[in-house]
Subunit: 282 residues, 2 copies
């Protein structure tokens, strides 16, 4: 651990710039705060370029645990409490910040296996919602989460915290425009299921192909026509209670787990017919 | 509109006390801020006792709209901007606050129709999560949301905002202890499905009775043994992607909409057999 003793230290200044979207994009890096998130990131194979520790805040034992988990390739800095508070985004900083390269992939480099859903989130603005979507997509076995249009930055601090570490597990990509996403989905052989508040088929009445991309709109407006018209199906979650709408992350969860349910039952049926030698012809 | 001109005005002081849980419980009332939420509440039939308006912040047109929507039974106060900012919880107040009686029901007074789920949330601490659960339960047609144990107060400001008005639509009740909930569920003929992170039946493998109560745990710990042991079934949401856990509101959504899916398909089958005179015996 090398010390940082001045608020003008260039590493500290570059770190502080990562609290803004502009800074994250210019540097191609992001930061994550807190011991739990740091451990999740390291366990997921994230290679931080830098680590900023404040033993006064973190405590001796946790500082040792953090140092043991960090490799020699990570430049590790030690900060007194006053400087660490300048560096932190949270009001009660825990004393550890990691800085790592952003890990989006170009859309064209995403690998979608033969059987997995993809979640595309159009212009989702709320970082907590995006983080919950990433966590949910990870749990449901999604091949990737693609943000489409003017979405919130997945590498903002609150997204990482809401994703509970799934940010480091699920491949992420961004499509600046709707057409970019639809062309990629078509070229990749994905069936696009566009979720609309009303007028689509009930989400449970559609049999999803093994490679389906679910497109979810943002909190306020529905999906733009480019995303609906190019879709394989428009689907709607029926709401027997008659509420006006669902939270965007909740909608994503309902359709991703309906996909997972159908997949599991299909595998079970295949396994059963393999045992009996029955190819499903009764 | 009568004016409030002093920070020591007793109505203003009682209003400010409603920002705390203690104040809400002592007064048996809660407050809600903002024009959208106020309109949703009035549309849902909420009868506010008091309204606090700041025409300087709200603007002339919206002030008139608010006054037109309020009945003569609501004591309506006008505040200058500096006093209104003292009253408001939000950093950019819109200029309208309503105060209404808390609308929980005693558990024993809840009416569960012949076909509807109930959502029970055990010790959910995050107000945003509880609000999302209430919104989701409303959409899925739940008969009630029951908070169990040391849960966050459903009448806290952030719950109302996250619920998007569903707070005023779904019956709410509270059970201070787990046994209170399980006795009520048994007496009401509800099948209790307890959601656990692992070891339960896959949530889609269980056929839910028309009256099922889903019990969801809090963000960190699972359900206590009292709630698991008394349950009709323990259910688990399979996570093919292998994440550690789901957000509590997401879990609630997945199981409530699986219930809704099964209900819809059962109704469809009943309607089809009524048409053909076939009672399902093939």
């Amino acid at each position: 651990m090398r010390p940082i003793e001045s608020p003008h230290n260039p590493h500290l200044r570059r770190l502080r710039a990562l609290h803004t979207r502009k800074g994250r994009q210019e540097q191609g890096r992001f930061l994550l705060e807190g011991l739990l998130l740091a451990e999740e990131a390291l366990a997921a194979g994230l290679k931080p370029e830098e680590a900023f520790l404040c033993p006064a805040l973190l405590g001796g034992e946790k500082t040792e645990r953090a140092l043991a988990a960090l490799s020699a390739e990570t430049d590790t800095w030690q900060l007194p409490e006053a400087l660490f508070r300048l560096a932190a985004d949270t009001t009660t900083p825990q004393g550890i910040i990691l800085v790592a390269p952003r890990r989006e992939q170009p859309l064209s480099a995403l690998d979608v296996p033969a059987e997995a859903p993809v979640l595309a989130a159009w212009e989702v603005r709320d970082p907590g919602n995006l983080g919950t979507m990433i966590r949910t997509a990870h749990a449901a076995g999604a091949a990737a989460v693609v943000t489409v249009g003017e979405a919130t930055d997945p590498f903002a601090g609150k997204v990482a915290r809401s994703s509970m570490g799934s940010l480091f597990r699920v491949p992420l990509a961004h499509a600046a425009r709707a057409e970019e996403f639809t062309s990629w989905a078509a070229a990749s052989g994905l069936a696009v299921a566009a979720l609309t508040a009303q007028g689509g088929s009930a989400h449970y009445d559609v049999t999803y192909p093994p490679r389906t991309a679910f497109v979810v709109g943002n909190e306020v407006r529905g999906l733009p026509s480019e995303l609906r018209e190019g879709a394989w199906r428009e689907i709607t979650i029926p709401m027997p209670g008659g509420a006006e709408s669902l939270n965007a992350a909740v909608s994503a969860a309902v359709v991703l787990f309906e996909f997972a349910r159908q997949s599991a039952l299909r595998h079970r049926a295949e396994a059963a017919s393999a045992v009996t030698g029955d190819e499903g012809e009764e």
